[in-house]
Subunit: 450 residues, 2 copies
């Protein structure tokens, strides 16, 4: 049952499609999980995917299409007629159906909706922003009126069994659909069939409002170890349910996005995207870094006299800029990480700054002393220059640390993703700051020494 995709297997599939060997395709796909078929289709040409999907049962086809990579799916659905897409959506969970519709061009979207069997559910979900709880929830869940008994509840599960694949809890509501609590499915199994729901339901239920941010939802489900969470409107009317598999995707995407932001990649790309797309995603930050570098060049140019007087000053430029960059990224990453952790108590701005300052004091001192020692030991003389470098490094560590701490906090205040402050932005800013410190310290100490 455990499946690994190999090139050989993929080639066999391509060949089977070429030869219209329907027997091979149906035998193989019947034995596979839809997620595995989906992984195969991600690697094949659009026409081949179309052919293979045509041979599969409707439910499996719908599951696979829900599971495809977004970019593969967008290209792929263009090869279908609106009425065919509507047939697929009839077998798809409402949250995935809404996502698929949102990916279609507007005209096609309207045509598809016109053909969907029960469009109300999906239409309702189209209204929500895709990164809030409303955009994540599905309309497929089981609810029970507080006045029901266990047997009525079981009958409702039977009615919904086609629609709701996984039931974790039954949500208990009043006559106005207001959420009152939940009954775990274990309780339904263990209690006599005539037990009243009112007697066994748990009124303490954790829920989210439809407007809450997806990351907030993710951290709540993680904190309370939930496999599903109900979504309500401002009047606590039950609207839908978010399951943990969607939350896993939210967390993974968020982590990838943070990593890419910090690395200066400005679009969501993967290694197997086209060369052109990859170049485009990488250029913006490289160009910003370039502008920073040009400014740095202009800046050093102001101190040309000093450089001519002491050419060895140029030797330590990379040391200064690299240290500033490293310290800045360390500081900002810790802040970004702390901001993402909504569980605990957040430290105050001033406490953060103080701590960052103290850490910088220790690290700046250690590095300054090491560099001073190494310089004197290795180069022999040049005490003044060694002092300049060591003291400049000490200052750079402190300033870069403060910059790295303050920038993400400010961005966060203005609702900009604080991770933007890490990576190339902080590096570029710290390069310039580091140079300013280095040459100012040099000017000061050399004039003192003279």
């Amino acid at each position: 049952m455990n499946f690994t995709l190999t090139q050989e297997y993929l080639d066999q599939f391509s060949e089977a499609v070429q030869n219209k060997d329907n027997n091979f395709i149906t035998t193989q796909t019947t034995a596979l999980h839809p997620a595995d078929i989906s992984a195969i289709l991600d690697e094949l040409e659009t026409d081949d995917c179309h052919y293979i999907l045509g041979l599969l049962p409707e439910q499996v086809r719908a599951d696979i299409i829900s599971d495809l990579d977004t970019d593969v799916r967008a290209d792929f659905l263009k090869t279908y007629q609106p009425i065919e897409v509507a047939e697929i959506l009839d077998y798809t969970d409402s949250d995935d159906a809404a996502d698929i519709l949102n990916e279609l061009p507007i005209k096609m979207r309207e045509e598809v909706i016109a053909h969907v069997e029960a469009p109300q559910n999906v239409m309702e979900l189209l209204h929500y922003d895709e990164d809030c709880a409303g955009g994540l929830m599905a309309k497929e869940f089981v609810k029970a009126n507080i006045n029901w008994t266990v047997v009525e509840c079981i009958e409702e599960i039977r009615r919904q069994t086609e629609n709701v694949e996984k039931i974790y809890s039954i949500y208990v509501v009043d006559d106005n659909d207001k959420l009152l609590g939940r009954v775990g499915i274990k309780k339904l199994v263990l209690n006599p069939r005539n037990t009243k729901i009112a007697d066994i339901y748990e009124p303490d239920i954790i829920f989210v409002y439809s407007y809450q941010d997806e990351e907030e939802v993710a951290s709540m489900m993680q904190k309370y170890d939930l496999e599903a969470i109900p979504v309500v409107n401002v009047n606590k009317k039950l609207l839908g349910r978010i399951t943990v598999d969607d939350i896993l995707d939210v967390i993974t995407e968020q982590a990838e996005q943070n990593l890419q932001t910090i690395s200066g990649i400005s679009e969501d790309v993967e290694e197997d995207d086209s060369v052109w797309l990859l170049s485009r995603a990488r250029l913006p930050w490289l160009l910003i870094g370039m502008v920073g570098g040009m400014l740095g060049a202009k800046f050093i140019g102001l101190f040309e006299g000093q450089l001519i007087a002491v050419p060895a000053m140029a030797f330590f430029i990379p040391l200064i800029t690299a240290t500033g960059g490293n310290v800045g990224i360390q500081s900002s990453t810790l802040v970004v990480q702390a901001l993402a952790d909504t569980g605990g108590l957040q430290e105050s701005f001033w406490r953060r700054l103080l701590k960052s300052f103290l850490v910088a004091l220790i690290n700046g001192f250690v590095i300054g002393v090491c560099v001073l020692g190494a310089n004197i030991l290795l180069t022999g003389g040049e005490i003044t220059l060694s002092l300049v470098v060591a003291f400049a490094l000490f200052c750079v560590v402190i300033i870069a640390s403060i910059m790295g701490t303050v920038t993400p906090l400010i961005l966060n205040q203005f609702k900009v993703n604080p991770a933007v402050a890490s990576g190339p932005f902080i590096t570029t800013a710290n390069d310039l700051l580091g140079l300013a410190i280095y040459f100012s310290v040099a000017k000061l100490l050399f004039s003192l020494a003279a």
Copy 2:
């Protein structure tokens, strides 16, 4: 029910502990979810935690202790007697109990085990490495013999109801405990009580072996949308079950670790750790960066003659090193990300290198031309130096890109976390490489121009 921790509330708690206001503490904690109490305790002093926990029911106390941050818990359990810890573990799930025991000093661990009521389960789990499937699984799950009926299965659930909080699926085994398949709990609800398990179970079940890596388990559960996965030994004997809440923790920890590794933080720290711990976690990479910077200084020193002849060469040092660093991190992040994605087909080494090279060609060309244009426009003359800088940048982008692609692949081959290759390591290496290219290009072009 939805809870946010505030400083005021925390102060009220501290005060209540001071005044031994047990009434306040029990009223408040009864209304709170254990995860919320745990968040409060994370912020309080060890003695206060001890006092509050003493007032709580045993099950709640055990849930909270399972939920505490690892470092808080380690300090905390030292204040308990071994027999008290054993009592807590009697109420804890086996996977958490094993984790807690592993955190204790060896002597205390043995003393605790001597007092645990049913030590077999926990003892068995202690053998597994903490980052493999065996280290994640719990012994609490419900299994049914293939020869049973639905009613026998329900009786088993009733027997286990204290131990197994969340059921999801019943695992079906033969007389030798070999895993045969599963029955969803929904099927138990919907089928008559005398139905044979053999008639309703699903033999296609996704499982993991106890030796599989936690990240492999996480990606499987994510791919197949599972809320729990059974763990078997090499003979397919059912050993335990991993639930999705543990996988959420694995994914989050992994993401944090990647971010920290890329940012050059060498220990798992959080913003609210001590200044000393934070400094220690940040120093190693800063020192490595420092050594790199000193080597850079030595290296530039070799070209002192050139610098004296053309002092303006020094102006562009930060541009060269920053670009090399930025390109290197971008490349390595994309590779690290691709290596982490085990779902699709992995590209071959040579294909990766070729793509990285083509992307670098485009980006290097764009940046080179921009810098050349800007330099000529802004500085007027100095054509040779402008050409040197532009051509050196072009080469730096290509070489840094290849370095950034190859290094994580090599580390991965040697089973080292490829994320180490991003961040300070690649930056430092690329600083040196960039300088070497810059000064070599300069030597070549200046001698051609002369």
